[in-house]
Symmetry: C2
Subunit: 117 residues, 2 copies
């Protein structure tokens, strides 16, 4: 197995086999679906992409909140992304900075990895 040890409470560095390798289990499906669901909204996807692509790996809310919805709605979506384990946040002075959760991208990319015949 390429999964040495389950590290943290959320999905860390690895979760399960690629979706195309073996049928995902019921419990794993629940957790993984929550991650994909978080990206399943256009506004959240844009916020996530803005954070992920921002210089220095983090972005202040004020830098990314121009997505066509109200400020509370932005805050609501960022919370969802945090709860899904995709983003982390930290307050510094007046501003709150968001950055990618360490292995969020890798976990999802692994799940979607094509299985060479």
């Amino acid at each position: 197995m390429s999964k040495p040890l389950p590290v943290l409470d959320v999905i860390e560095t690895s979760c399960c086999a690629p979706l195309a390798r073996a049928p995902i289990g019921e419990a794993d499906a629940e957790r993984v679906a929550a991650m994909f669901k978080a990206l399943g909204d256009p506004v959240r996807l844009r916020l996530f992409s803005k954070v992920a692509s921002s210089e220095g790996g983090e972005a202040c809310v004020c830098d990314i909140q121009d997505v066509g919805v109200s400020q509370p709605t932005v805050s609501h979506h960022l919370k969802k992304l945090r709860e899904a384990g995709l983003l982390e946040s930290e307050r510094r002075g007046s501003w709150v900075y968001y950055r990618l959760a360490p292995s969020a991208l890798a976990v999802m990319a692994d799940l979607l990895a094509p299985v060479r015949a």
Copy 2:
């Protein structure tokens, strides 16, 4: 631009830059979010994984419908996966076979590719 020509009606073989490379545009976000949204339900994720991991690359509905919900609900979810461009279906005799849409996995995996610093 690395997007020579939009080929089909859905996202074909490529859509846009990885989420972590540049902020995704509004229109692209709409289309991509629909794909992730389709995987954002545990039942759909399991159905998708069952099809994707099935031998020969395709599976009859009767082989995958044991996911804890009624048959109409399974049918409903498979339709959603089809509409999202993730699965294709074909009727052969009494049975309907589902298989992975050609580049579905690759498109999503590319979007989630980490951008090496």
